[in-house]
Assembly symmetry: C2
Homo-oligomer: 320 residues x 2
């Protein structure tokens, strides 16, 4: 028996596979585009890729510590069934755990990708040993993970930590989840692009017009961040509102869960700390109870794009 | 050794003491006005009352299962020190657990009163065995308790479950906690009275004018509920906005914690179910994820004004 765990991170676009040691170091890594085939075929292709990766280290699947799989959707626990998969067509109600177990010929553990990113940060990352730990994933959507007593907190059946879908603006924008005023509707990348576009109608001098070559389809959250860094007035306003919405959600979590640590992860954290992290902390400071705010560290996560693979491996280590 | 526990519920106005059996029945009960003296004197008076109560059953403090104490403030755990006591002057930083242990001559356990009300509902009440369980206390302030894995969830140091202080209206009313747009600022009794008063300026025909005898000081949340039951337009509007704000907070908790059960307790639940509970459920249904909403039962708590004593006793049973 080796001391390595296999972490598989199924994303909407790419699937990443890593062989991880007990210190959280990835010693072998591979990545494939996530097959857009039916679930059983997709699992079979991922499985083959995983076995090839093990083969490069002259390992087979029976001689590693364990296998963890991350998935971009809500997973019913402990069964490991996909409850909702907003970004992968045809995966609703798929028995992910069972299918993977059959394909690999051994037990595996499966969880939501944001939950696993939180676990990776707790085990090896920016929030090592801090408990409770809350992680926000800031990207196209806004999600999250909650660690309590060193484990992923699942709630009744695995649906916990939909942190992006808390109402902070009761008369606000319509969210993709159909609610009104979710933080995702403001601070998810769709919300950012929509708000920027509205401001640009009255700001023909914005550098964003040049950056996107006059084509709305090129406008994205990263570009808004860049324009804000360069001093563009509309982009700065959008960035401020974005940080404010996230800061409100952070304050809510501080008052509701009294966490020791809140981490921010995902594509949005490529925005500089002055543009995003610092105003988020400032907003949370203004809104949360002093006694609660003081005892909560707020920082960027460190796992980056590997956090899914690391979290899946962390789950495998934890379950053994 | 008897099989009874002593529950002590220190309130801002009254302190209740009950001797509770393992089925959650109160077999002896006493109540005194909470002494407005320094904490050590207050504890001594409460202690004497408790010993007298035990004496009526020919018991002394060494021969019961345990003693639990509830307190209306944030308690630092596991030390049992009062961190914040908004409604009791001079109690900040008081070593409540230590002082009570010394006075009674035995170990006691202390927790926030809303946390204990949640525990009572979980052990004997409307949410028996449902996990996670969340309880909102709706009164002058809005607070709450969270039960996870059968125990009170404390967070980093005991400050968790400040459910009334989540922002749901980012440009909304100023809350007593100094934040803007907390649900307490809308749906706590101060918020209800303030909103009603605003509407009454343009509604000289409201029956509330007669009910309060033209004197604003008589206006309270209970009266608004009565007027709404009687069809008063302004009161109905206030009631609808109240239920909406609480419903949003309920939806937030459903998405964040995926609870099995959410209970509503406190003075506000004297409003009829049609006026409060049903519109809260409807608002939560509209806003929460379907999969999460479906698996969460939302109901009124059953502990009533005894829930503090029951919860304190439940804590004593649990710790033994």
């Amino acid at each position: 028996m080796n001391d390595l765990a296999l972490g598989i991170d199924i994303g909407a676009t790419n699937t990443k596979i890593g062989l991880v040691n007990p210190d959280g170091k990835i010693i072998q890594f591979d990545q494939i585009p996530t097959p857009q085939s039916p679930p059983d075929t997709t699992i079979s292709i991922i499985n083959d890729t995983a076995l090839e990766l093990l083969d490069t280290e002259k390992l087979d699947v029976s001689c590693i510590i364990g296998v963890g799989v991350g998935f971009p959707g809500a997973i019913r626990q402990p069964e490991g069934i996909v409850e909702v998969a907003p970004n992968l067509r045809g995966w609703g109600k798929v028995e992910l755990r069972k299918l993977f177990c059959e394909a690999l010929g051994r037990e595996i553990f499966v969880d939501n990708d944001a939950n696993l990113a939180a676990l990776a940060e707790y085990k090896w990352g920016a929030g090592k040993g801090e408990d409770p730990l809350i992680l926000f994933t800031l990207g196209t959507g806004i999600g999250g993970g909650i660690i309590i007593d060193g484990k992923i907190f699942h709630g009744a059946w695995g649906g916990a930590a939909e942190l992006g879908h808390q109402t902070v603006d009761l008369n606000g924008r319509r969210c993709k989840c159909n609610n009104i005023g979710c933080i995702e509707a403001i601070a998810g990348s769709h919300g950012i692009v929509a708000r920027t576009w509205e401001l640009l109608q009255k700001d023909k001098g914005s550098i964003l017009w040049e950056m996107m070559n006059g084509n709305f389809d090129f406008l994205d959250a990263e570009m808004v961040g860049q324009a804000a860094e360069e001093g563009d007035v509309s982009a700065i306003k959008v960035a401020q509102e974005t940080a404010r919405a996230i800061g409100i959600a952070v304050a809510n979590m501080i008052n509701i869960l009294n966490p020791q640590c809140i981490l921010l992860a995902g594509g949005m954290t490529e925005w500089g700390k002055e543009l995003l992290l610092e105003p988020i902390i400032e907003e949370a400071r203004k809104r949360a109870f002093k006694s609660h705010f003081k005892s909560c560290r707020i920082a960027y996560a460190t796992g980056g794009i590997q956090s899914g693979v690391l979290g899946a491996a962390a789950l495998a280590f934890q379950k053994m």
